[in-house]
Amino acid sequence: MSRYFLNIYETLSTLLTGMRITWTHMINIKRDNVTLQYPEERWPRPERNIGFEHENYNIIRSRLHVDIDDCIGCLKCERACPVDCIKIDTIKAPVRGEDIPNMKHTGETTNGTKKAMVVSRFTIDMSECCYCNLCAYPCPEECIFMVGGPNSSKHPIDYEFSEFDRTDLIYQFAKKLNSEQKDSLQTPIPEAKA
């Protein structure tokens, strides 16, 4: 019998404790609120100076971007991609490290590396990308990166890229070459297999 009343007492007391907690939260909503009104307010994105000397390693996992002028067509990023969303075609340049003005091809990267290849196609399918960041690490010229964060000087952040069509998420980075321009270069080198 005492068990019966003890049960009722326990029920009431624990329930009232719970109600007190929700009540305090309700009246202190101004203090406790964690909602952000998304389009108007946004979370601050982490921008930091990471702790080791490779300053340009990126800490943002956002849209991939390629500074195509710096790309030497080494295919390292393509090989590193676990989902094969990067696709690169290269054509051997006639002269290593020389500009080809009619194709807007620059011969040297900003690091001073002489390019041996003309990148005729560099596409990234962001709908397939798994944001693992594995492509950004092996790049010798640091030309493929995820936008924003420490790279915001190179490219503004773009978290909210959305398209109506899936194919619009395939980003083209290489400069457009028409077939004559391609023919004027040498025959395409078959891409290396991973």
């Binding site: 009722i8 719970g18 929700t22 009540w23 939260h25 309700m26 909602t35």
Partner: protein, 358 residues
């Protein structure tokens, strides 16, 4: 402004009893429906905000350019209502179509009829029955038929589970609810709601208003047993097992959409209003002012009544966003082994109390 007063007023224009009766019913029914719709809209909005605030959220907000949902999301429920009305009304291929379409209206009728006897103020009551309390309790059971119809006609196992659970639950909890409301009836000696409220005039213990809840310890307990049973009858947490969304998807409402579902929703909130109204009338002095003798006239009655009802509805929301849900057998346990003994004891105690203290 009861139907009776309307009929009497029409009678001054001539003798046409049938027409005047129909007119009186329609004239008083339309505001009642508006009350129902308005109640649902406000209650949904408040429920959203209350739940959000309790969870450290802020709920629907309409900011920025354009009119998303009004300032502070005030238009959210209106937008929802429009959405529900223009939504496709899906009827499952293998359902019993007639019953499926009928069920929402039966539930609606139950809630609507109950609302007719709710005393919003000393004059603002559609029908003032001489057995008003009994009537509300009785009419409240109509919705079970609708629920079982809905669950059966949907031809869906989840719906069937929900309906069966709901029927068992509502029928069981009517007993403690009825036994609890007997306490004020015993004390006032009447089944008429207005007389019941009139009985609660004046003061008790010197300073408290003479509401039945404050009258004696038994009636104090009776209020809580009634309120708990009332929550169970309206299928709200912690007794929301008929529509337990983590178990039964949506219970007996699983197959409903659009307008029919909106009717369910409307009825649910109307039911909350009815049971809270009965609790207020029976225990909390109805439209009587909490300060005896002050602000007790005219529109104040409506204000006090709605204020008390809103308080009870808020407590129901508070429960919902704090508590987990009971299991079916525990629900029955609470009803048959806890509430009914207590209410029985209460009736006995009130009888003794009346005998001793008058």
């Amino acid at each position: 402004m009861t139907v009776d007063t309307l009929i009497n007023w029409f009678a001054t224009f001539g003798d046409f009893p049938v027409l005047s009766f129909i007119l009186a019913v329609v004239i008083s029914g339309i505001p009642l429906f508006l009350v129902m719709a308005l109640n649902a809209m406000i209650a949904v909005y408040v429920e959203r905000k209350v739940s959000a605030f309790m969870m450290d959220r802020i709920g629907p907000m309409g900011q920025g350019p354009g009119l998303h949902a009004g300032k502070w999301g005030l238009l959210q429920t209106a937008a929802d209502a429009i959405k529900l009305l223009v939504k496709e009304d899906t009827v499952p291929e293998s359902s019993d179509k007639f019953l499926f379409k009928m069920a929402p209206f039966i539930i609606f009728i139950g809630a609507f009829l109950g609302l007719a006897a709710v005393p919003f103020s000393s004059t603002l009551q559609v029908v003032d029955f001489n057995v008003g309390v009994f009537y509300i309790i009785a009419v409240g059971s109509i919705s079970i038929i609708g629920i079982v119809m809905a669950g059966w006609a949907s031809n869906n196992k989840w719906s069937l589970y929900g309906a069966m659970r709901s029927a068992a639950q509502i029928i069981s909890y009517e007993i403690p609810a009825g036994l609890s409301i007997i306490v004020p009836i015993m004390m006032a000696g009447t089944l008429n709601i207005q007389e019941l409220i009139q009985y609660q005039n004046g003061t008790v213990w010197g300073f408290l208003p003479n509401w039945i809840i404050f009258n004696n310890p038994f009636s104090f307990i009776a209020f809580f047993t009634f309120f708990i049973s009332a929550i169970a009858e309206t299928n709200r947490t912690p007794f929301d097992i008929p529509e337990a969304e983590s178990e039964l998807v949506a219970g007996w409402m699983t197959e409903y959409s659009g307008f029919r579902w909106a009717v369910f929703f409307l009825s649910e909130y109307a039911n909350m209003l009815v049971v809270s109204g009965l609790a207020v009338a029976g225990f909390l002095g109805g439209w009587q002012s909490p300060i005896p003798g002050l602000f007790n006239t005219g529109a104040w009655g409506l204000f006090w009544f709605m204020g008390k009802v809103s308080l009870l509805i808020f407590v129901m929301m508070w429960f919902r966003w704090t508590f987990p849900r009971l299991r079916v057998d525990q629900l029955m346990h609470v009803c048959w082994k806890v509430l009914i003994p207590i209410t029985m004891f209460n009736i006995f105690g009130v009888g003794i109390w009346k005998l001793i203290f008058g």
